[in-house]
């Protein structure tokens, strides 16, 4: 229908319409054009809202420190890339980053290990009380982490003895951050891995066990490698969440790098009694993003390769 009227409208457009009228007419004739336009609009909107802060951060970082208070627009005020070096000179920023990376790495290892065992049990074994236990895990993840904070802080800091056993002082050690954060991020990882491990055909596990592995051996040699995309997803989510985590990592550690202070402490320390070095803060933030960005780029390739190899087409 629209096909036949098209030449006519085209003819009238030339006489009456401007660009906008022309576009509307051709969009009526070809609705796909509208969808494309809508997609472009939405995509640009999201890209802008996510990328613009990063752009502006970069502009602040490159501004001249003494002129930042004049305001920073779309271009840096002055130009001083030395901020990226100065951040390491003023405070040992690399140590703060190291601390955060240690928290993230340890937590990820912990979470993947425990969630793998839990995921194997929930995903592949039949036992009484499986559903209630899974629900309990889910319920635990509903609690705000802050709810655990005060008792944990007392436990780690004041070493309350329990049944005559006094725990070691975990305040200002990686343990004070890694243990509670592992507990907080476990439920999500357990649910992801349960789904993935549950999808591996029983025959593969049986074959591995006949060939000479234990159940645990089959988990590590066959089930986990075949669930690589799931393990990568759970691992990355945990890593990023812990690396970005503020509450526990800030409060369970001291303010100095040697007291296991995380990145956020490092950034705050560019604020002195007399001035706030926004340019250094911005530069430090950008540097802090790099490890996670690298990780995601590398792991994303792994995820994609894991998905496309069609491993389980049996």
């Amino acid at each position: 229908m629209s096909q036949s009227t098209q030449p006519e409208t085209d003819g009238t457009d030339d006489e009456t319409g401007g660009i906008f009228t022309n576009w509307v007419d051709s969009a009526i004739a070809n609705p796909k054009k509208v969808y494309r336009a809508m997609f472009a609009t939405v995509a640009i909107f999201f890209l802008f809202t996510t990328l613009f802060p990063l752009y502006w951060l970069t502009m602040i970082a490159f501004s001249d420190g003494s002129r930042v208070s004049e305001g920073v627009g779309l271009l840096p005020t002055g130009f001083d890339p030395s901020s990226f070096i100065e951040i390491f000179q003023q405070v040992p920023f690399h140590l703060y980053m190291f601390n955060s990376l240690v928290f993230a790495t340890l937590t990820t290892i912990f979470v993947l290990l425990i969630a793998s065992l839990a995921g194997y049990a929930f995903g592949r074994l039949q036992f009484r009380g499986k559903r209630p236990m899974m629900l309990a895990v889910l319920v635990i993840s509903f609690f705000p982490p802050a709810a655990f904070f005060i008792p944990l802080f007392q436990l780690f800091n004041q070493q309350i003895s329990f049944l005559g056993i006094t725990p070691p002082e975990l305040y200002s050690t990686p343990g004070g951050v890694v243990i509670p954060l592992s507990a907080v991020f476990l439920p999500l990882a357990i649910f992801i891995l349960t789904t993935f491990y549950g999808q591996i055909p029983d025959g593969l596990e049986d074959a591995a066990r006949i060939e000479g592995t234990t159940r645990l051996g089959a988990l590590f040699r066959v089930i986990i490698p075949l669930s690589a995309p799931g393990v990568a997803t759970a691992g990355i989510l945990t890593f990023i969440a812990v690396y970005n985590e503020f509450f526990f990592s800030f409060l369970m550690t001291g303010a100095a790098a040697q007291d296991w202070a995380p990145i956020v402490d490092g950034i705050i320390s560019y604020r002195s009694q007399f001035q706030v070095r926004y340019d250094l803060m911005a530069a430090a933030s950008i540097v802090a993003v790099l490890p996670v960005a690298t990780l995601v780029v590398i792991a994303q390739e792994k995820i994609v390769s894991g998905l496309t190899s069609g491993a389980l087409k049996e």
């Binding site: 593969l204 049986d206 006949i210």
Partner: protein
């Protein structure tokens, strides 16, 4: 190489009994097939031997060892699965050598063994391929190579050919027999396909409903089925069953169309007892061509004919007006006859047939066990060739 012995194996899943008091004694180097309909407990049995399932009670021995409580890896067995179960993330070499690597063999030995196993199943030159790049038959051969490379005491095969197409299945069937001849290792093979069971095994264990029905060489199961179930399950097409009563001078069918005279005095059954007469389709003969000791003529009409090439299946009805009960065709007087291709039969023609008395089977209708096999000396046939039961799919 080893014997396998199951003693009083019982397996319950919740309230369901999968296996009830199963005893099997498999000899060293024997090819034994567990056969039965779906859900009869044959897979559970082989999983019990493998150690993938723990029996509720009973013992499993392989060789001289009681392995009931041992994990699968310590039982000295290898298994081939229905879904093949190659590790998709490993190439053919790693798949075959997986077990050897786990057992810390040195690399030279692994290389040598993998080479030899690949040779046996004709997989040379494919060792660096991934399973996803191979055809179904090739994958199945990798799975077999993975099993033989460890030189286990026994092979367990759970419907290994079920996922292959018909042509390949027949081919692999021969291959497996060849491998068995070559390695001379005990093989326990599970299938629901009685043709595979008949052609490959030294002995067949027919299982139904978690119970062992008969454990005997294939031809014995065929010629002397222990009970009604074995008689109906082994042989294709299936045996005709005619319900009737034992009389002083033989058998009288309930439907009244057939009587067989024989000496009932030696039989462990009383006159008047409900019995079932079994006759295989190839032992139903057109009366004009049959001589020897045959039954009295039975007047029938041909219903449907199925020419198979080397034989013709003829469905006979004793009463043309009766409708055939699909669930239980024998009860409504339907008989299946198998004749040679030379016999000229049309559809809906009257035809009188006889049974070869030497190949009749008599079963107790109550407990379904066999009372007698062969009710006289063999009958001879003039024209048509008496073809043995087809073992084809």
């Amino acid at each position: 190489m080893a014997t396998i012995e199951l003693k009083h194996i019982r397996k319950e899943y919740g309230n369901d009994i999968a296996i009830e008091d199963l005893n099997l004694d498999i000899k060293d180097g024997e090819f034994v097939t567990l056969v039965g309909p779906s859900g009869c407990g044959k897979s559970t049995t082989i999983e019990t031997i493998a150690g993938l399932t723990k029996p509720t009670s009973g013992t499993v021995s392989i060789g001289d060892r009681d392995v009931t409580r041992l994990p699968p890896k310590d039982r000295g067995i290898a298994m081939v699965f229905q879904n093949i179960a190659l590790f998709p993330h490993k190439d053919v070499y790693d798949n075959i050598s997986f077990g050897l690597q786990l057992r810390k063999f040195d690399e030279e030995e692994i290389d040598k063994r993998v080479e030899k196993a690949a040779d046996t199943v004709q997989l040379n030159g494919m060792l660096d391929r991934m399973p996803s790049e191979m055809s179904g038959g090739q994958r199945q051969r990798v799975a077999i190579a993975r099993a033989i490379v460890r030189q286990p005491d026994a092979f367990l095969m759970d419907e290994p050919l079920a996922n292959l197409d018909a042509e390949l299945r027949v081919h692999m069937r021969t291959q497996l027999q060849r491998i068995h001849d070559e390695l001379d290792t005990t093989i326990v093979y599970v299938t629901h396909d009685q043709a595979q069971a008949m052609t490959m095994s030294d002995r067949i264990a027919v299982i139904d409903d978690g119970d062992l029905q008969q454990f005997a060489p294939p031809l014995e199961c065929y010629n002397k089925p222990a009970n009604l179930f074995v008689a109906g399950f082994i042989g294709s097409p299936a045996m005709n069953f005619i319900e009737g009563t034992l009389t002083a001078d033989g058998f009288e069918s309930d439907a009244g169309y057939i009587d067989v005279d024989f000496d009932t005095s030696t039989m462990d059954a009383a006159v008047g007892q409900e019995v079932v007469l079994g006759v295989r389709p190839e032992h139903v003969l057109p009366s004009e061509s049959a001589t020897g000791d045959v039954t009295a003529q039975i007047d029938t009409y041909t219903d449907v004919t199925e020419p198979m090439g080397k034989e013709i299946f003829v469905y006979l009805v004793t009463d043309q007006s009766a409708t055939v009960d699909m669930e239980d065709p024998s009860a409504s007087g339907q008989l299946l006859m198998s004749v040679g291709p030379a016999v000229d039969v049309g559809e809906n023609d009257p035809l009188s047939v006889v049974f070869d008395k030497s190949n009749l089977h008599l079963f107790d209708a109550d407990n379904e066990t066999a009372l007698a096999h062969g009710l006289s000396e063999p009958a001879t046939v003039d024209t048509s060739e008496d073809t043995p039961a087809s073992a084809d799919d």
